[in-house]
Symmetry: C2
Subunit: 411 residues, 2 copies
Amino acid sequence: MQHVLDKAKAAKAASVVLGCMGSAKKNAALLAMAQALRGSAAYILAENEKDLAAGREKGTSKAMLDRLALSDKRIESMAEGLESVAQLDDPVGEVIHTALRPNGLSIGAKRVPLGVVGIIYEARPNVTSDAAGLCVKTGNAVVLRGGSDAIHSNIAVVNVLRGAAASAGIPEDAIQLIDDTSREAATYMMGLNGIIDVLIPRGGAGLIQSVVKNATVPVIETGTGNCHVYIDESADIEMGLNIIHNAKMSRPSVCNAAETLLVHEAVAQAFLPAMQKRLEGVELRGCEKTRAVIGVKAASEDDYYTEYNDYILAVKVVGSLDEAIAHINRYGTKHSEAIVTESYRNAEAFLERVDAAAVYVNASTRFTDGNEFGFGAEIGISTQKLHARGPMGLKELTTIKYIIRGSGQVR
Amino acid sequence: MQHVLDKAKAAKAASVVLGCMGSAKKNAALLAMAQALRGSAAYILAENEKDLAAGREKGTSKAMLDRLALSDKRIESMAEGLESVAQLDDPVGEVIHTALRPNGLSIGAKRVPLGVVGIIYEARPNVTSDAAGLCVKTGNAVVLRGGSDAIHSNIAVVNVLRGAAASAGIPEDAIQLIDDTSREAATYMMGLNGIIDVLIPRGGAGLIQSVVKNATVPVIETGTGNCHVYIDESADIEMGLNIIHNAKMSRPSVCNAAETLLVHEAVAQAFLPAMQKRLEGVELRGCEKTRAVIGVKAASEDDYYTEYNDYILAVKVVGSLDEAIAHINRYGTKHSEAIVTESYRNAEAFLERVDAAAVYVNASTRFTDGNEFGFGAEIGISTQKLHARGPMGLKELTTIKYIIRGSGQVR
């Protein structure tokens, strides 16, 4: 695994240089990277076509091929992404805490880059440029390890980004792609403590669990979203219908989509038949009480644990708010959870007692997103409690350093 | 390992109750816990004597027995520790970010407890009450797993604390001690993802590395301190002598003590002989250039990597500030690093380019400490970059939860 080690070490060395660079230089590099993507669209599309051809040959699903496919429009959107990151405030250098101690020591906590960020991800080539852009902005070197399905596209995108970075005077070694897509290379990368400072896996539950299990480098767990919408007994029925329709149907494949609907028994008769109508095309799987009201398939225990990422919804009738909260805390993945209610007391109890990164009253779970939260960009959505929780923007790609200025103090 | 699982699950259940409790109740419990320690001193000392007897029997070192030994004074100090934690501001519930989005969604990021904190530690029984106190204050349940050397003391302290907590109306199950001191029990605990939210190891390098390697639960790495003092060519020699004397000799066994002294060659003649005199009783191990000035043992490459925690100091003469920074970034553990200089430019370069939790100009590394930084309490000193860096106080025992209030918004 010398080739992986070499790239990680080159990233580490580059991170020291990049970490001390000012915003003007980093922003200029981002703009150069955006222009380079546009200028190299033909090359990138040709390489992307190799991935698509390989995918078609091995019978990759249409949905998967669609994720993998680049186009002029998607490349433009990658370029615009880099440009918009250039516009954001640079968190590096911000002093977030100061103290003058009685002994005269001046203590400041300053935001500094993490150092080297490792990203392990699957088949979306746009993650390659998004992640590289966010890391350059925050002064971090990045070691990218994408999936084999997108390898030609990723190599092309990284070649273009490295060239543009170098031309703008930032070290090209700050952007590294591990082009060995073997499992061994990924596992090796997960053990590079002291070189890689943090690993962020982006992809399906299998990928994420593998990183959590195998990594000794600190990990930020992202993205698994088994989200719920709970219709309280006091809910505005029409609002509840709008919210579950949006949370389930606007984009079922994403992590902030709803997977289970909980309905208070007092409104089950009023809500469930209307819901069934509004969610036409969605396969409903209900508990016994649900099936006493509407004709749907039976839900199993497994259904409540499942993130379908599809037009499927589990439905459960509950006897109380407490039962709803207990269900969510048991089966959920601590991502995004919503209550629809007109009751102040129930709203507050839900916000307080549900353990999740984002808890909503009378809004769709689909809003859990860096852009929707106003962060301007997002490297992922953390479902763990350490370091970052919920959508992670630029600040979450930094750490702090205590700076202490003295005049000879001893203890 | 059912007994470990049972205790962790009981802690999880208790954390839900404790996490919603207000400061008044938690503070009352801390005061009750302090009083209970005082009232049960005879019982705790008798149990501590069992540990001491076992230690003496197996030939435990005097230094180790001293760490293990409790006394009325030490129990009083544990009690006062709990009382002082009660006085601190409770970080739970603080809203650290708010936004009103254009669509009317109100978003707030609120500090909430982590949930269940696991502490794996060695032979100091005072860690048991310190950690329990900090966790109760921040609404976290704690699962303690101390070393076998202190097992009777730990059982006694936890019995007393649990009883006092229950009498003050907070769930006694929020304080758990794993009384199985086998390696298997610790390893099992490190894999309890979904039950234990974070693991904080406290102890020697071996313990910490074992936790980093084996844990799938997120870890905060603490305490390994291979710290340096660098005497720049422009240093005030007397100040430099005071600082290295303090950094090495005031308490050699702790993580913020200095282990290597770096001296610019331009001041080696002026500094080294005076230093040798000031640090009488310290074994010096020097590079060739050092040994050309003062008669000391030769330092090996290994010495530069070693955290002695003892009256031993490696000494190296460097040709430039750059060489000093490169040495620190290569051999250091990113804990605390100091420069002694009168040069503005060199001070700023050192602060910027040394990669460590705490970087000092003209002050001793010994100040890296929660109390010295003004945090009032400390659960450990993080040497990683994720979540927390440097001394960890109460805030570092919390995470955030995004609270979103809407009026029917969909995306």
